[in-house]
């Protein structure tokens, strides 16, 4: 076994397999390192992803939903789409899975220091945003950043991820947590409306602010002009891309946009960077 072999997954134990959404299509997985050594070597930042492996089925890349300030575990929220995610959903707690990572770049948390941060998320793409929020809200770090505004939307209340945490964040005063669902629903007393409209309502100032946005393409498409209107420049907008990936190392060749490999050079890009790349994603 070659220690430097980037293709080898480290073993982790599935400690929690939790059905996150009402449609039952998204589960959240908490993984625990089997070897202490692996835990120490696994250094990551919000925005990075890892290849999650189900033995006998294969591996697939997922954004890391946990934050480095939640030691000992890795959290992933996975939608049931392919072979691996289907198998993951069926895994019993206590099973061994493989993890290869951390992979890719991260949200520029260092550069964000001293700035206000707006986080916009939609649907189940909230995973690395959760990681980011957790990271920013860490008491040792919170002081480094300015105002934090989060707008998170889903089609209906049942499809919101991390419902308990959302509640908790809403109750805090060091973060402006805005949760919205597309249309009014029974029992939902919160805000309704699509994310772009809500962002417009919330109207965060672009002054000394960076916006991290992650969600379905249509949400991004319609939120961009809103942000522009609010005065955000492409340099102030940070996005995370999704592409079909295999190696995660910038070698296998499928996730490139122009000369950039999303897996290695991304997945985090500023809108400015993306504008320079071909529109092929």
């Amino acid at each position: 076994m070659n220690k430097n072999n980037p293709y080898l997954p480290i073993p982790m134990r599935l400690v929690k397999n939790f059905c996150e959404t009402e449609d039952k299509l998204i589960h959240t997985f908490d993984l625990e390192f089997v070897n202490k050594e692996d835990q120490e070597n696994f250094k990551y930042l919000p925005g990075q992803f890892a290849e999650l492996m189900v033995y006998g089925q294969g591996e697939a890349p997922f954004g890391i939903a946990s934050s480095p300030n939640e030691p000992g575990i890795l959290k992933f929220s996975v939608a049931k789409v392919g072979v691996v995610s289907k198998a993951l959903h069926l895994l019993e707690e206590g099973s061994t899975v493989g993890v290869r990572g951390p992979l890719g770049n991260w949200y520029p948390v260092e550069d964000l220091k001293g700035k206000n941060i707006v986080i916009i998320g939609g649907g189940f793409a909230f995973t690395t945003l959760r990681s980011t929020i957790q990271y920013l809200l860490d008491p040792v770090r919170r002081g480094d950043y300015g105002d934090i505004t989060v707008v998170y939307g889903a089609r209906n209340p049942g499809l919101l991820l991390y419902k308990e945490e959302l509640q908790e964040w809403e109750n805090r005063d060091d973060i402006n947590m805005v949760t919205t669902i597309d249309r009014p629903a029974e029992g939902w007393e919160g805000r309704t409306g699509f994310v772009p409209a809500v962002v417009e309502e919330v109207a965060p100032s672009a002054e000394n602010t960076v916006c991290i946005i992650c969600g379905p393409p249509v949400m991004i498409k319609f939120t961009q002009p809103v942000l522009e209107k609010l005065g955000f420049t492409p340099e102030q907008i940070i996005m995370s891309l999704e592409m079909r990936m295999k190696c995660g190392l910038g070698m296998c060749g499928r996730c490139n946009i122009g000369s950039k490999y999303v897996c290695k050079d991304g997945p985090v890009f500023t809108l400015e960077q993306l504008k320079k790349l071909p529109n092929e994603y």
């Binding site: 006998g56 910038g250 070698m251």
Partner: protein, 339 residues
């Protein structure tokens, strides 16, 4: 140094005892690079149908195997560090290996499967006295006697080869062989041979990278792909194409992870689990192929990902000629329609 052609087989027989030796082998009308057991199998000077990149980067390779059961997890990787010699590689193919080095050992990660083989494989190339009509290496910064990527370069001077060590490893290797030193006559002959090796085919690639910088949305791509069947013959037979797929082959919880060549010409290559495909049609796929070779790769590694071997030209089922593509790109007007 000089190697007499009649001694090649004997020499290879000796090498086989110490190394794993690959050489061009003619089988059933097709030349392929294969491991040989005896010298007479080799056919130096022949150009293989499939490029020798597969020596370092096999079409299918087991990365590791594993088993999960009540006793826990067992895993074993299979990194091949056998000392090997690739004998009779074409200079263009040797050059391609140098290009692949960039890919498999980037600033962050090292593909130990490739690099271990690479480190342990000596490349002995044979220059091209008579380049084929489809060869255009000189157009893409190479030549019939290019030394890039080779440890030893052989030049066919009639009854014998002139052997030149290109690298330190090459030098050491040649020393061990105890070959007669080359005389001036041989050297002169070699020089002449090199000079005489003329390419009949040329295509102007100057400025193609810059041209392509502005061509992503160019209508040219609309018609380029039209006759393309979307097969992988061009990419699989290309010495520099290196895209691969990773898949698990398993039964229950025991299996192995396999890497297989993949091709940007296949629709599934970029298909997302959601059904979204950033490269929906042949248009996007052909653009990717052209761009990757002559723009993206250049941008990343400062070299075109084409060595001009002509395999894709010869083997395309519909005669879609990359030289024509290059010429067409060059001929396109990019002044106005760039968005």
């Amino acid at each position: 140094m000089i190697i007499n052609k009649s001694e090649i087989a004997g020499l290879l027989d000796n090498l086989v005892k110490e190394y794993r030796v690959y050489a061009p082998v003619q089988k059933d009308g097709i030349v392929t690079f294969e491991q040989i057991n005896e010298g007479t199998q080799a056919k130096p000077g022949a150009t293989s149908k499939k490029p020798p990149k597969e020596i370092l980067f096999p079409q299918s390779e087991e990365l590791f195997n594993y088993q999960v059961d009540s006793q826990g997890l067992r895993m074993e990787d299979k990194i091949d560090d056998t000392k090997s010699v690739a004998f009779g590689v074409r200079p263009c193919d040797a050059k391609s290996m140098m290009l692949l080095d960039n890919v498999f050992h980037n600033d962050e990660y090292e593909d130990v499967y490739y690099t271990t083989r690479r480190k342990n494989t000596l490349i002995i190339s044979v220059g091209c006295n008579q380049p084929a009509s489809t060869c255009f290496c000189t157009s893409v910064g190479s030549s019939p006697f290019d030394t890039d990527g080779s440890d030893v370069l052989l030049t066919d001077i009639g009854d014998s080869y002139l052997a030149e060590a290109i690298t330190e490893q090459g030098k050491e290797f040649l020393c061990k062989l105890n070959l007669p030193a080359s005389d001036d006559q041989a050297k002169t002959k070699a020089e002449e041979t090199k000079k005489q090796a003329q390419l009949t085919s040329e295509v102007d690639t100057t400025g193609i990278k810059e041209k392509l910088d502005d061509m992503f949305d160019h209508p040219y791509w609309e018609s380029l792909y039209e006759k393309c069947l979307g097969c992988g013959a061009c990419t699989y037979l290309c010495p520099t194409c290196h895209c691969f797929d990773i898949a698990d082959e398993a039964k229950d919880c025991a299996g192995c992870r396999v890497r297989n060549w993949d091709s940007c010409m296949f629709p599934l290559f970029t298909l997302h689990g959601s059904g979204h495909n950033p490269r929906t049609s042949g248009k996007e796929r052909w653009r990717q192929r052209a761009m990757h070779k002559f723009n993206y790769f250049v941008e990343r590694y400062n070299a075109s990902a084409c060595v001009g071997c002509g395999r894709c030209i010869k083997n395309c089922p519909v005669n879609l000629d990359i030289r024509q593509v290059i010429a067409d790109i060059k001929a396109q007007d990019t002044g106005s329609e760039v968005s």
